[in-house]
């Protein structure tokens, strides 16, 4: 039976907009943090799935830093987030590359070195990217097309040529196809001979946008900037997917031996990247969930507070309602409706703000958070439940008021 409780509640809430806004602030903050964290995680998971499908599930990555701890069976027992983000640095050498090259069951491999430096062209300088030293296998092993021009060939490994990502073309050359133009790295002029297709994010790891990369032949880059480059990835493909494990074990054993038994590197299969990122996400989510829980609690107490104030301010109204026949239950329901409405409106604004935050994250970072419908429903339900829980005490207080005392209270 429609009692008008909700429309009345809305009127009451609109009447005291600012007060209601501050009350709902906790809920709004809580909802925004929960929705944002979950959608970030969702976005990252989505990226990884894309990445796995682009790179192929048999691709093996060798990278610096002890990213994972494994048990005897080779399963990951722990992820060390300090090493997992970005390129990592330092612990791989040309000897390791040679060792990998001499492995059995190897179909193909590509070593990548990093020169953490920008480039310039004429008056323009470009400092928001990096230079990668690659070999001719690089595009094929990561399944990435060169959109304009072509990649350098085996014969050009010692020539000063580069292929660039789209951001570099846009920002350094202010055009989409700057083929034939030159850029300068460490005083050496390189001719642009190709522009990569847009990279999906997270291909070589979280926090790396390959669209801001300049791709030079590794041999040439080493001679232009000797001692300055670092090996950051060796991407390896087995001859058959079934041999992936075998290959991983071989490489692991070889490099461990070369490093004197020190596990300061990681050999990771594609599907494990999901696990690694998931693990980092879970740690992050746990932290934010704590913050969210606290803000929801604060929000709940806010609701309770404003409802208690409302109940005492409206004692006379309660008296009138009781005098004309409202039962305790009906009075309780009225105030419950109001608290629920506060929760619902808080939830609504929380969701609206979540979309805004989502948009801001999308345009300011390379993260692509995804807000799922389930999360929105979950957030709404949480907000309503919060209104119900924290509205109960004030509503009971209102319902228990003695009618004649309430009626006499003529504030």
């Amino acid at each position: 039976m429609y009692s008008g409780n909700y429309s009345f509640a809305l009127r009451i809430i609109r009447r005291s907009k600012w007060q209601s806004f501050f009350t709902m602030f906790g809920i709004i903050a809580g909802i925004v943090s929960v929705v944002t964290v979950i959608s970030l995680g969702q976005g990252i998971k989505q990226q990884i799935v894309q990445q796995v499908s682009q790179l192929g599930s048999d691709l093996v990555t060798v990278r610096p830093g002890n990213v994972v701890t494994r048990d005897k069976n080779g399963d990951i027992v722990e992820v060390n987030p300090n090493y997992a983000y970005g390129f990592g640095s330092g612990s791989l050498s040309e000897d390791d590359v040679d060792a990998i090259a001499s492995s059995d069951n190897l179909a193909d491999f590509s070593a990548i070195s990093l020169l953490n430096s920008g480039a310039s062209s004429g008056d323009e300088t470009y400092n928001s990217g990096f230079v990668l030293g690659t070999d001719v296998n690089f595009p094929s092993i990561i399944n990435q097309e060169v959109e304009f021009g072509s990649y350098f060939t085996t014969g050009e490994q010692t020539r000063s040529v580069v292929v660039i990502g789209k951001r570099v073309a846009e920002q350094l050359f202010k055009e989409n196809v700057p083929i034939g133009q030159s850029l300068t790295i460490r005083g050496q002029e390189f001719i642009v001979r190709g522009v990569f297709e847009e990279f999906a994010s997270g291909i070589l790891g979280q926090g790396i946008d390959l669209n801001s990369g300049i791709y030079a032949p590794r041999t040439q880059l080493n001679s232009v900037a000797p001692q300055s480059t670092q090996l950051v990835r060796v991407l390896v493909r087995p001859d058959q997917p079934a041999n992936t494990d075998k290959l991983v074990k071989q490489i692991d054993t070889k490099i461990t031996k070369l490093h004197g038994g020190q596990k300061d590197f990681a050999v990771i299969r594609q599907e494990e990247t999901i696990q690694i990122t998931g693990d980092i996400l879970n740690k992050l989510t746990g932290l934010i969930a704590g913050i969210a829980a606290i803000s929801l609690l604060v929000g709940g107490i806010g609701i309770m507070n404003i409802m208690l104030v409302s109940v005492s301010e409206r004692t006379h109204e309660i008296g009138i309602r009781k005098a004309i026949g409202a039962t305790n239950r009906q009075i309780r329901n009225q105030f419950m409706a109001e608290a629920t409405m506060l929760g619902l409106i808080g939830g609504f604004w929380g969701i609206v703000l979540s979309y805004l935050v989502n948009y801001i994250i999308r345009i300011t970072t390379e993260l692509k958070p995804i807000i799922l419908l389930e999360v929105i429903i979950f957030a709404s339900v949480v907000a309503i439940i919060e209104g119900v829980i924290f509205g109960t005490i004030p509503a009971i207080k209102a319902a228990r008021k003695n009618p004649i005392d309430a009626l006499r209270n003529n504030a």
């Binding site: 039976m1 009447r15 309602r321 009781k322 005098a323 004309i324 026949g325 039962t327 009618p403 003529n410």
Partner: protein
């Protein structure tokens, strides 16, 4: 069989030395269809009596039977439903909800009865028409005159078709013309079968009643049946003594009337007074004994 029956009903406020006896063992039977005017000086317990009869308050002692049913046995929910379905209140201070328009205010008791929106608004509109406010349905209460608000309040009191109308100084905040309109309405209701209980300080208004009850110090000191349209002897006397000009004059008049009582019927009043004194001390004893039990 009386619709309202009070037996030795007392209401005490506070405890110990600060105890106030608002009602002092009141016995009162009201038959269905009566129009009872309750008079008496300020603080004599009129409102307290109305609140107890209207199930807004509970007596400290004594028995109250509504339609031969002991009210003490009702659970809070049943009391609320009895208020809703059987009793309509009209207050001196109107007590409409300022945030609802007139129509919604009048329909509110139906909300609590669970009547569907279309039906309840229709009924509320009908009642507003009956009190002559059909063109004020969508006004907020603060946009109406006192007389109009009180008529809306009467419409609200009637919306659940109650047997009993309790009006505590319904004309207390109204000018004489508005008072007249309100009184005509109450009188009409009484004619169509409602039992009306009305507190008033204005002796002139007792002409609408067929019974006048006079209270003093929490007790009923005089109770007389009168013919409709006539002002009872006692009230008349106060009017002659103090020609009515304002509300204060009314109050003074009623107080004066109380002083008149012993002269008019000396033995009776004296008896009442001495009895009352005794009762008061008895009530005090009761309080003491319950207190002892609690300890």
């Amino acid at each position: 069989m009386p619709i309202i029956s009070l037996k030795d009903v007392s209401k005490l406020y506070g405890f110990g030395d600060a105890t106030t006896v608002a009602l002092d063992e009141v016995n009162l039977d009201i038959e269905a269809g009566e129009f009872v005017a309750v008079m008496g000086p300020s603080g004599s317990g009129k409102t307290t009596l109305m609140n107890i009869i209207g199930l807004l308050d509970r007596p400290t002692h004594g028995q109250y039977k509504l339609s031969n049913r002991a009210v003490e046995k009702l659970r809070p929910g049943q009391r609320a439903k009895a208020r809703r379905d059987r009793i309509g209140f009209v207050f001196q201070s109107f007590n409409l909800l300022p945030k609802l328009n007139v129509l919604d205010n009048v329909a509110l008791p139906l909300v609590y009865r669970g009547v569907r929106p279309v039906k309840r608004l229709k009924r509320a509109a009908d009642l507003l028409e009956r009190v002559g406010l059909e063109d004020r349905q969508y006004f907020m209460p603060n946009a109406l005159s006192g007389g109009q608000i009180q008529r809306a309040a009467i419409a609200r009191a009637l919306v659940n078709d109650p047997q009993i109308i309790i009006a505590d100084e319904p004309t207390g905040n109204l000018d004489s013309i508005s008072s007249l309109v309100v009184m005509e309405l109450l009188s009409e209701l009484n004619k169509t079968g409602n039992t009306v209980l009305m507190v008033t300080h204005n002796p002139e208004l007792t002409r609408y009643a067929d019974r006048a009850v006079y209270m003093h110090d929490g007790a009923i000191v005089h109770d007389q049946k009168t013919a409709k349209g006539q002002i009872p002897q006692l009230a008349k006397k106060t009017m002659q003594l103090f020609p009515r000009r304002s509300e204060e004059d009314d109050l003074a008049g009623v107080s004066a009337m109380m002083e008149l009582l012993p002269q008019k019927d000396g033995s009776k009043a004296k008896k009442t007074k001495s009895k009352k004194a005794k009762k008061k001390s008895r009530v005090k004893h009761k309080v003491k004994s319950t207190k002892d039990k609690d300890v």
